[in-house]
């Protein structure tokens, strides 16, 4: 449940942002990041539809890689089962 997904901000409208990861777009709330200036092109860590931290592009890439790695391992486990 505490899984966070790194996403790139595509558009911002008030506290609402359209964000993208791996070609999938989602509406994300920026309500918990009011102290930060969040703009299109920025990266955020998203948990249950809310951005909980602003992160750099490089940090986003490394969390994507970690997620890919984990999903590949899960697929491998599922295939073995």
């Amino acid at each position: 449940m505490c899984l966070g997904i790194a996403m790139q901000v595509v558009a911002v409208d008030g506290y609402n942002a359209r964000c993208e990861a791996k070609g999938v777009q989602r509406e994300v709330s920026l309500f918990l990041l009011q102290e930060e200036l969040v703009q299109p092109g920025d990266h955020v860590l998203v948990h249950v539809g809310y951005a909980i931290q602003k992160i750099t592009a490089q940090e986003a890439r490394s969390t994507w890689e970690a997620l890919d790695e984990l999903l590949a391992l899960e697929d491998a486990q599922a295939a073995r089962a």
């Binding site: 505490c2 509406e27 309500f31 918990l32 009011q34 539809g49 490394s62 969390t63």
Partner: protein, 372 residues
């Protein structure tokens, strides 16, 4: 140049470890990464990785789930909850509705959601209904719930809150006679929101090594190396092995919302009991949206086994890291993901479910390995 998992493993194997070291994690996400990457078998045998209290669904009070089921069965109510919660059974006779999933099968309007924002949307779309959001979770999840409340709710949306703080459960274990671990890997996304400082007490009060970790094998191995090295050198501190996301002070905006909306109360953990100052409750200003104040309390202590884990289920000891999942007598026999008995086999963050998904399909034949 980041250090690879292979390099961390090499460094770990080169450490002059003489005694057994038990390292507890308190996050389902950590446990899943450990299980899926097969870190236990890759590490030297003297290192034990113990899953601790890292699953909010697993310790969600049985009476709260019972209450959610009773509310869901009301014809004017739409009950929404994170999907994990729907299959968790309560202790009622077999002929009665035992889970939210069964309530839905019986005609109740129960909907799984992935975000608090979906609860708001559903309430706006159906003003003739009363929407109850049954929200279990740790700090990372409850901060968004607080954000949702602070932003303003539709009149017909209320929250049945079962939020918990993670550190008080660790503090309770450490204050007990047999904590059962020698070092702690602290949860990365809880620390993202609340700040890593919350975990200083492990080092300062209990003199145990601690490190905040992210969710990649590399970050977990780095944290494992850090706590082992701290222990070997006799110099303990709170390390941050997830600095790209976890900053000093956490997320001040999220903490501000939590403070504005929630108060901290003593709270029950299923099968464990009351842990002081470990629960979130809505402040009085939000009474109009607090399902606990709005609706009758279905908490019927006369119910047989009210509040407890299901009969025979050892989830409580699994949650506290006292036994490994496959040391429960039900594991793999009476209790599998298809026919789960206890919440630890239901939730994606439950240690039993994670171990099963990681390929552990048999109960342990030996006596408990986790001694205290």
């Amino acid at each position: 140049m980041p250090i690879s998992a292979q390099t961390w493993l090499q460094r770990l194997r080169e450490l002059p470890l003489s005694s057994k070291t038990r390292i507890m994690n308190v996050c389902g996400g950590h446990e899943r990464a450990i299980g899926m990457a097969g870190l236990r078998s890759a590490l030297p045998a003297s290192i034990e990785l113990i899953p601790g209290p890292g699953c909010p669904v697993c310790i969600c009070p049985e009476e709260d789930i019972y209450q959610a089921i009773q509310l869901a069965l009301h014809e004017r109510v739409i009950l929404v909850a994170f999907g994990d919660m729907l299959r968790v059974p309560v202790n009622v006779p077999k002929k009665e509705v035992r889970s939210l999933e069964q309530a839905r099968a019986a005609g109740a309007d129960v909907r799984p959601i992935a975000s608090p924002r979906e609860a708001v949307k559903i309430a706006r779309e159906q003003p003739e209904k009363s929407v109850v959001f049954f929200a279990a979770g740790f700090e990372t999840t409850i901060a968004p719930v607080a954000g949702m409340l602070a932003e303003g709710l539709p009149f017909n949306l209320s929250v049945l809150l079962a939020g918990r703080l993670t550190w008080p459960a660790v503090a309770m274990l450490l204050a007990s006679e047999a904590p059962g671990f020698d070092a702690l890997i602290a949860p990365g996304h809880v620390a993202t929101v609340m700040g890593p400082e919350e975990w200083r007490f492990v080092v300062e009060r209990h003199h145990l090594p601690a490190a905040v970790a992210g969710f990649s094998p590399v970050s977990l191995l780095a944290a494992t190396y850090s706590v082992l090295r701290q222990r070997l050198e006799g110099r303990v501190f709170l390390d941050n092995c997830y600095p790209e996301v976890v900053r000093p002070g956490g997320n001040p905006g999220a903490r501000r919302q939590l403070q504005a909306v929630m108060e901290i109360v003593d709270a029950n953990w299923r099968g464990v009991g009351i842990i002081p100052q470990s629960g979130f409750a809505l402040k009085a200003e939000f009474a109009a949206h607090d399902a606990r104040r709005l609706w009758p309390d279905y908490n019927d202590t006369a119910r047989k086994r009210a509040g407890q884990m299901p009969p025979g289920c050892d989830c409580a000891r699994v949650v506290l890291g006292k036994i490994y999942p496959n040391e429960c007598v039900l594991y793999g026999y009476a209790c599998t993901p298809r026919t789960p008995v206890g919440p630890c086999m239901v939730s994606d963050e439950g240690a039993c479910r994670i171990w099963w998904s990681s390929g552990v399909r048999e109960a342990a034949r030996t006596q408990p390995v986790v001694s205290s």
